[in-house]
């Protein structure tokens, strides 16, 4: 048996080395043919890995040759574009630039407060203190960090979730229903996108103070419910993603408008929904100025304000600096956003591209 396996591997290699002129896909088929031509062989263990590695190498080689050819002829395969050293370098630098603060955060969250202020910023401290730091973050001031975390989750789920829902329904209605005043709504929405949220924060504060709502979670949730950009995005997206004829067909079949929306349109809107949700989640998760002026009670703080309060301890006369906890807390704070991005990024990309090409 083992000799057969070796033979098969050798055949594949021989094919691959022969296939100088083959390119990726063809060669793949060639290798398969070699395998299926003889009796079906199932490679196992290390030999299989080895063969696969060789095959990948061969494919890579073929692709590289194709790129070389296309550089000469000027015809390039869109699925195998030519590579540019310059651009790779630029994007590489940009990636380093983006990841640098993250690296700093990772390194410094392992330090004690003493090491934090006395050792080199990009080097590790005298002791590895990450686990203790995480523990202290969650126990400091009777575990208020956990409370801030839950608050932020509440604001994100109710605020950003509500904003997304309102944006979907509003955007869909504006795209698919004709009613008087649609143009006026359009003007208002476009206008509100151009007004930065910070400019509205102070009037909002005075308004909420009159309503006795400052210092309550409502002061955070109600303003977060409004996302003009999300509405605009969903409007454009609904316009493109849901064919009017499909809705008409549903109506002809006797479905109510709500049923049409929930069972026909909503699934079609999924990529747009994820994009809007990501926008609103990130905006709410990172919201700083609104809670800063609305909330005075640390029990209702979101993470941003809470961490800043901890940070200001280091500049307060007579207070104890806890920058190690601030850094570790910041690291913990970004983890959910990173996870959300990694899980939803393919939707995010397709959502951003939506409407770019008219089909």
């Amino acid at each position: 048996m083992s000799s057969t396996r070796q033979n098969a591997a050798q055949t594949a290699t021989a094919q691959a080395s022969d296939g100088k002129r083959m390119i990726g896909l063809e060669m793949l088929q060639g290798a398969n043919a070699a395998r299926t031509g003889a009796e079906p062989v199932y490679l196992e263990g290390r030999a299989a890995k080895k063969a696969e590695k060789k095959r990948q190498k061969a494919i890579e080689k073929g692709l590289a040759e194709e790129r070389k050819r296309s550089a000469k002829t000027g015809f390039s395969n869109p699925t195998n574009p030519r590579r540019s050293w310059g651009l790779t370098l630029v994007t590489g630098i940009f990636a380093v630039y983006c990841l640098f603060p993250f690296l700093w955060l990772l390194i410094n969250s392992t330090k004690t407060q003493k090491d934090f202020v006395s050792t080199f910023g990009l080097g590790f401290g005298k002791s590895f203190n990450l686990w203790q730091n995480i523990q202290t973050v969650f126990t400091y001031q009777d575990g208020i960090f956990g409370r801030w975390f839950l608050n932020t989750l509440l604001y994100v789920i109710v605020g950003a979730g509500g904003a997304t829902l309102l944006a979907i329904m509003g955007g869909y209605a504006l795209a698919k229903f004709d009613f008087p005043g649609r143009k006026a709504v359009f003007a208002v929405v476009i206008g509100s996108i151009s007004v930065p949220g910070i400019a509205l924060a102070v009037p909002q504060f005075l308004l909420f103070a009159k309503l006795n709502l400052t210092n309550t979670p409502w002061a955070m949730i109600i303003p977060s419910l409004i996302s003009p950009f999300g509405l605009y995005l969903m409007w454009i997206f609904s316009d493109q993603a849901v064919p009017t004829s499909l809705i008409e067909a549903a109506r002809v079949d006797g479905a109510s408008e709500f049923r049409t929306f929930f069972t026909i349109s909503l699934p079609l809107l999924a990529p747009g929904i994820v994009t809007t949700a990501l926008f609103t989640i990130v905006a709410t998760w990172n919201n700083y100025f609104l809670p800063l002026i609305m909330l005075k009670d640390p029990d209702w703080y979101p993470l941003t304000i809470g961490l800043n309060q901890w940070n200001s301890q280091s500049t307060t006369a007579g207070a104890k600096a806890i920058q190690n906890l601030v850094v570790t807390g910041s690291l913990l704070t970004i983890i959910p956003v990173v996870v959300a991005f990694l899980c939803l990024q393919k939707y995010w990309q397709s959502g951003l591209a939506a409407g770019a090409v008219k089909e």
Binding site: Q113, S118, T214, Q309, S312, S314, A317, G318, K320, A321
Partner: protein, 456 residues
Amino acid sequence: MKLSVKKTVALIGAIAMAGSLAACGNSNSASSGSSSSSSVTKFDPNKKVTVNVWAWEPTLTPVVKAFEKKYPNVTVKLTNSGTNSAAYTALDNALKAGKGAPDIAQIEYYAVPQYAINHKLADLSAYGAEKYKSTFTTGTWNSVHWAGKLYALPQDSGPMAFFYNKEVFDKAGISEAPKTWDEFYEDAKKIRQAGSYITSDSGDAGFYDSMVWAFGGRPFKTSGTNVTVNLTGDAGAKKFTEYWQKMIDEGLIDTKTKGWTDDWNRALGDGSIAGLLTGAWMPANLVSGAGAAAGKWRVAKMPTLKEGEKANAENGGSSLAMLAGSKGAEAAAAYKFLEFATAGDGVDIRVKAGNFPASAKAMKESSFLDATTVSDSNGKPVEYFGGQKFNEVLAEAAEDVTSGYQFLPYEVYARGIYGDTAGAAFTGKTTLTKGIADWQAKIISYGKQQGFNVKQ
């Protein structure tokens, strides 16, 4: 709705009157004399009330716990609404909105006049707080008065002292801390030769004010709405401005490292900044900010113009004030807390937690004077000053604080624009004399806009 509000107000008023009448009837004339005004509600320990306190002072947390234990019906809600100017912005916003302002707020001495002149603070003499005159140090007691009225009770103080890194001083061949400003200048040169700076300043208004105070200057005077600003003509201000300009010109102070940044902490820890002229609250910050230099630092009294002179100033320090909007049972309970935290059991609790008190009595306690350790971020005691009984020096420094220094009635604003005017002198773009003249011009024009009668 309106009627019922009126009724409640009337009711509260009636209760208040009845209460004060009862007080007159029951107790001796001395105590009724101290609670002179009949408009304040008497504290009733059996009544359930919530007192809102806005303060950033960390040692108030255990005080609140002790107070609630003593008066179980009173709930004290301690809120950290920011530090310094951030807290004042929050307070101003709440006052402007007319809702959500606390009963008690932590207000630094320099900001007391600003809130007092706008009638935002309650006059505490109505509660008989004048009897605490001998409890507090003279400097802090003067700072909580405005136009003859008492608007706050001192909570902590910051008599200035010279904190220095003895290791660096030894290396530079200096055996003891400078006693006069001339010696300070000579030492600064030696320390610069040894590769460090004697201190840093990149344009700190609070520091400038305090140093002018220590140099005997009294540039601001206020009576009623008449304000005199004389930074350019005042002898003390002039002397310090020129002295500091000389230090900047000769590169003897670090003007690049901004105070309270990570770089600054690092520089204090590794000895590149070898000294600080600052308030007595500094030890806690040194331990957590510059822990690497533990054991190397010492505390000395501030240098003076003439050797042996008693001329010190306050730097920082804050009071607890009651807002004028606090009324009825809340106000009564709020005053009780104010008393407890600043003149009662709270003082000991806070001193133990590392606070530098404003109470003259607390400064005489041997447990305070004999302390050789400061607790770090984890609560562990650290012999930061190499076993020196640093509080002995600081308590003496508190006694040397000279009286008669006044803040502007809009000092918060004035300090906010110091960096834009005099700050340029620290980057060499102008001289400190010119920068201060510019600062003065801006202070005067702002005061006039605010309706003060400002003279130079």
